[in-house]
Symmetry: C2
Subunit: 329 residues, 2 copies
C-alpha cells in the first residue's frame, strides 16, 4: 500500500425518490456538498472531528458517524488496520431529504481510498458507502450514496445497487429546491409506509417508473415532470408528514415548473424546470418559498443543475473525479 | 362516410409479460398472425364466420367473438349503425400466450376502420381493441393488442394504455418460441396471482422493469435476457401451471440463448437470442422442444423476429401499415 499523509474528498448533495422512483432513483446536485479529510492516525483508534468551517457538528463517536463508518469500511476492504483521523466539513444541513449523510459518507470513503493509494472495485466501494449510510439511517439505501459517488441521475435496484442505470449530460435541466425549516424523521417516514400493496398497484407503479426513465433517456422535461408527480403509493401514505406539500406543488406548477415533488422523505421539495430562463426559475423559487411561508414555515430556496461528476478527490493540482479518475477542468 | 364494399386486415401474433414486464410489456412477432375481412351487411345484424383457410374455428356469436366485438366498437365510434359481416382466418392457435385473440381483435378493428373510410384517433382505436380483447379474456389488458396494432416492442401502463413506450428496429433480436400441446386457462393463471405483495418487492419489481427497458433502449440482448428471467412475483405464483418451464429454460440457456421466459400466461415459452447464427437458433429450438418432450409434451417450435409494422390493411395494391398508413415494400 502506498499510503499518503492525508487525503480529502468532496461529494455532492443529492435528491432521491421522485414519485415512482421511490427507493430506486437519485440524482446528484451541483454546487452543494460535504468535504472530508482523512489522515492516518498515530494510534489504532479512529477519531472524528468537525472543521471550523462546518455548517454544523454531528456525532463524533466513530462507531455512529456515517463518515467514519464508511472510511473504516474502505480501510478494512483495503487491509489497512491502523487508525484514521477524520475531519468533516458539512456544507449540507441534516435531515432535509437532500442526502446529507450520503455526502459525508461518500466523501469519507473516497478520501480514505485516496489516502491508502489503492482502488476498490466499484461494487466494493458501493458496499462500503452503503455500510456508512446505514450507520445513521439504519437502512442501507443506495438512492443517495450512488449519485453522490458517481454523479448524474441514477436508477438502481436498492436490494442490489450494482444494478443501476446512469444518465448524464442533461445540461438544460434545473432543479429548484426549497427547504422549509421543519423536521421529518426518516424513521417516522418509513413507518408511515404500507407493508404491502395490491399487485395491480405494483404493476402500475413499475410502468410509471418505466415512463419516468424514458423521460430521462429522451431528456424530456415535461414527461419527467408528469411522471415524477404520478406516485400513488408513497406520497399519499406520507402526506401528513408534509403539510406544506400541496401548496408548494401548486405554487411551483402555477409559476411554470414542469413537475414538483418531495425529495427523499422531505421536507425538501424540488421542482424541475427545463431551460435556464432566469425569470421563470426566480418565479418558481419565489412561489415555492411563499407557499412555505403561508404554511407558517421559514424556507430557503436554491437552483441546482445535475452534478455529472460525483465525488472528487481534492489534490494540490485540483479536483479529480472519482468515477473517471480524470482531473476536472 | 366513404364506405367501401369490403376491407381486410392482418395483425401479428405477440408475446407478452417477459418477467418483470408482467401486464406491462408486449412485442409483435413477424410472420404469424390472423386475417379478418369485413363487409357491410344488408341487415343491421353483425355476423361472424371462419374462412376455409382458418387454422381453427371459434365462437360465431357476434356478442362473444373478440373480432366482432372490436369491429362493432370501431363502427360505433365512427357512427356506423349498419350490420357487419366478419370473416376470420385464424393463423394462430388459441390459448397459447401468443396473443391469438388480440390478433383477430386488432385485424377486425383495423379492417372495419378501413371499410368505413375513416380514421379513429389512436386512443379511441385502443379503447375499441381493448373492448374486443375483454370479450374473450374478461380483462381488457393491452399487452397484446397494443403491439399487434402498432408493431415493435412496447411497454405500457395497463390501466392507461395510451401511456406507452415503443421500441423498434432491433433487427438482430430473434425469439425462439416453443409451444407445447397443453392448455393453460387464463382464468386459472389470474387466480394464481397474489392479491397483494410486500412494498419492498414492488419497489424491486419496478427497478427490474426499468433495467429491462434499459436493455431495450440499448438493444442489449444479454441484459434483456437477464432481466426477463428476473421476475420473482408472477412466475413463482404460477409455476405449478407450467410443469415444463424449468426444463425448457435450462435447455434454452445451455444451448446458448440469452434469456428464456414464459409468454403471456403460457404455455408458450420464448427464448431470446441475438444474431441470426442459424446453428445456435436451431440448437436452442431443439433443446426447448426436447425438454417439452421429456415432460411428456408434444411441442412445435419457430423462430421469429420482431414485427415492427403491426397491423396492415390489405389492399389490392398491397399491404398498408396501420400505424404509418404507408405501403409496405
Amino acid at each position: 500500500m502506498n499510503v499518503n499523509d492525508e487525503a480529502s474528498a468532496w461529494a455532492p448533495a443529492s435528491i432521491s425518490n421522485l414519485g415512482p422512483g421511490f427507493d430506486a432513483f437519485g440524482a446528484a446536485l451541483a454546487g452543494l456538498g460535504d468535504t472530508v479529510s482523512v489522515k492516518c492516525s498515530s494510534t489504532v483508534q479512529d477519531t472524528v472531528c468537525f472543521s471550523p468551517d462546518s455548517l454544523w457538528r454531528g456525532p463524533t463517536d466513530p462507531g455512529r458517524n456515517t463518515a467514519s463508518v464508511a472510511a473504516r469500511a474502505v480501510a478494512q476492504r483495503l487491509g489497512y488496520d491502523g487508525g484514521l483521523d477524520i475531519e468533516i466539513t458539512k456544507g449540507l444541513p441534516a435531515g432535509t431529504g437532500m442526502g446529507s449523510s450520503a455526502a459525508s459518507c461518500v466523501a469519507a470513503a473516497v478520501a480514505t481510498e485516496a489516502l491508502l493509494g489503492a482502488r476498490l472495485e466499484t461494487e466494493h466501494m458501493l458496499a462500503a458507502v452503503i455500510e456508512g449510510e446505514a450507520a445513521t439511517s439504519g437502512h442501507g439505501h443506495a438512492d443517495n450514496v450512488l449519485p453522490a459517488l458517481l454523479g448524474g441521475l441514477i436508477m438502481m435496484r436498492s436490494v442490489s445497487p450494482s444494478d443501476y442505470i446512469r444518465f448524464e449530460g442533461w445540461e438544460s435541466l434545473f432543479f429548484v429546491v426549497v427547504l422549509p425549516e421543519m423536521e421529518v424523521l426518516t424513521r417516522e417516514a418509513r413507518t408511515a409506509l404500507p407493508e404491502s400493496i395490491p399487485l395491480a398497484k405494483a404493476v402500475d407503479h413499475a410502468a410509471r417508473l418505466g415512463l419516468l426513465l424514458n423521460a430521462l433517456h429522451h431528456q424530456d422535461a415535461p414527461s419527467l415532470g408528469k411522471w415524477m408527480m404520478s406516485d400513488d403509493i408513497v406520497v399519499p401514505a406520507r402526506k401528513h408528514l408534509w403539510p406544506h406539500l400541496d401548496d408548494v406543488v401548486a405554487g411551483a406548477m402555477q409559476a411554470g415548473a414542469e413537475g414538483c415533488a418531495i425529495s427523499g422523505s422531505g421536507p425538501a421539495v424540488l421542482a424541475c424546470c427545463s431551460g435556464n430562463g432566469a425569470d421563470r426559475l426566480r418565479s418558481v423559487s419565489s412561489a415555492m418559498q411563499a407557499a412555505c411561508n403561508e404554511n407558517g414555515l421559514e424556507a430557503t430556496a436554491a437552483v441546482h443543475q445535475i452534478d455529472n461528476i460525483g465525488a472528487r478527490i481534492l489534490t494540490t493540482d485540483g479536483p479529480v473525479g472519482y468515477r473517471t479518475r480524470q482531473p476536472i477542468s
